[in-house]
């Protein structure tokens, strides 16, 4: 389901296509997901949260400045987009935009996914010496930038927006006088 949400959105991800792709019979779906599409989507969002978090965790193990690390994540995302010919997007974003009004459950799953990423980035920034409050604000901004850049990159079929975001993120986290500027 994850891949289908990424390419077609939540509403566009038909359960028939889901079970076909999993080469599973239709009847078994409601045994594993008795609450239907919504809980399936919830799990897909949670899975996406884990995967992208792992991607970030892995990036933090590389050496380099915080800016290098975060820009590296953005470049990896860009590479994924190119790899898939710009046919995929962030599943959490699209579910948020489609179902934010209808399903509190899915909205909360998306919120948790974003939070997990934001918290990870914030913790990482704190680890590099950034003050906690600023780290949280930066983390919020950075995750937002990534989400937005993915969307614009997809619309344009070009990684330029992601690269611009990478450069801007590097600028934000790597400047020596950041604390003073915000003071």
């Amino acid at each position: 389901m994850l891949e289908l949400i990424q390419t077609c959105g939540y509403s566009g991800a038909g359960l028939t296509a889901v079970v076909d792709r999993a080469s599973a019979p239709k009847g078994s779906l409601y045994f594993h997901f008795p609450e239907g599409k919504e809980s399936l989507g919830e799990q897909a969002v949670a899975l996406a949260a884990e995967r992208y978090a792992a991607l970030f965790t892995e990036a933090t193990s590389t050496r380099g400045s915080a800016g290098d690390v975060l820009a590296g994540v953005l470049h990896q995302v860009a590479a994924m987009l190119v790899d898939q010919d710009f046919r995929i997007g962030c599943p959490v974003s699209v579910v948020t935009l489609e179902m934010g009004a209808d399903s509190a459950r899915l909205r909360e799953a998306c919120s948790s996914a974003f939070d997990s990423w934001i918290d990870a980035v914030a913790a990482y920034l704190v680890g590099t010496g950034v003050e906690a409050a600023r780290a949280k604000r930066l983390a919020l901004s950075i995750i937002g930038s990534i989400e937005g850049a993915i969307i614009i990159s997809r619309a344009r079929r070009s990684v330029e927006p992601l690269e611009a975001a990478a450069a801007t993120v590097r600028e934000l986290v790597d400047r020596p006088d950041q604390a003073r500027v915000m003071a």
Copy 2:
């Protein structure tokens, strides 16, 4: 249709609901939009592009630093979200994420919408003395930040992400030494 796309996404915006909301008969839809839902969506995206562009244009007429102006736009967006109880999102984002793979036509409409905003912001920044290449990069990053922040704010039902983005944008465009840092 615009409102429905904002709340339910493109796939979720059924034409039945559209014509009901417009209190128009269903049969007349294909007289006005012979090419069906896709062209209707295209028009909705174009309309959204205009509206948000107007919002930005209006903001530039206020006095204050470039950071003030851009942060003002973000705060206006935040106010809209609160006003609508976080039930709406950016229609261009959701159409991009849902239809980017299926409909080249809609993808291009979204790309144009984003471009119009980015170009406007870049032109504005150039007008405030920013060097052209940097202005374009910043404009890309800023529009991306806005889109991303809207999504996360909606998921969280909180304007905190938008406010964080506003602060970060202000930090980006208002620092005196920005050119030097990027050099």
Copy 3:
């Protein structure tokens, strides 16, 4: 739909079978019945109410005692059952039994159908000189007898229960001393 309800019950009357039998496409169904199966069933019940009422009205135009007239109706029903090889039953009864708990709307439609028959019989009995209160009670009993007899006849695949009911009804309405007995 009426025939399907009579043979398979309301739940057993699939809309697919309904539209097949009417050689109509499924999509057109919800134009004529926007509220779905329930309103379709409502209309089927109303149609049945009319048809059987007409059958009774026609019977009253024949000469003979009240007992003859009512027994004649029962024999007509018996003939219908034989004709259809006991594959049909009263649609109002089955809808009442299946949906009485779920759908107030259908329950009321069934109630109205029964009432229309009971009122017709009661009015007829009053016309033959029966006192009003007794006419109403007898009419209730007679319609009840018919419904019950149809069911048992169907279960048995024999018209004997309907014939027994016919004889009993004749006994009830044609005895000269009925008023005295009830006094």
Copy 4:
């Protein structure tokens, strides 16, 4: 299953609901009922046959005229309906009407159920001195009246039809000159 058939009909009584209500695992159903839903329904009908027969047997042990006894049964049925807020009906009737055409097996189970009641009533009437042939005819009519009255009472959400049937039954069996009238 019996209760579900009484409220929702046979088709409406899903096996999922049945096993939930019995707090039994779904997989075990086909261990106990290898032939599936049909045999389960058959057993439910047989169970209902026993229960209502017991109700009648018990009533015959009370003193009073035959009319008193039979009217007493009708009043007990009316009390049950009121008790359950008119949400239940006769399971045998509804199975007959829904499955009479599809399943010979269930039809015969229903026929047997009706027969057992009719035979019991006929035997009782013979015991009170009624001539055998008339007793059988009356028993058929009485059971039919009860079934019909239950249905109409349920549709109306009122015990009036059952009370009318009770009065009529009393009139039928308690009049002194009944034999002469039928002669």
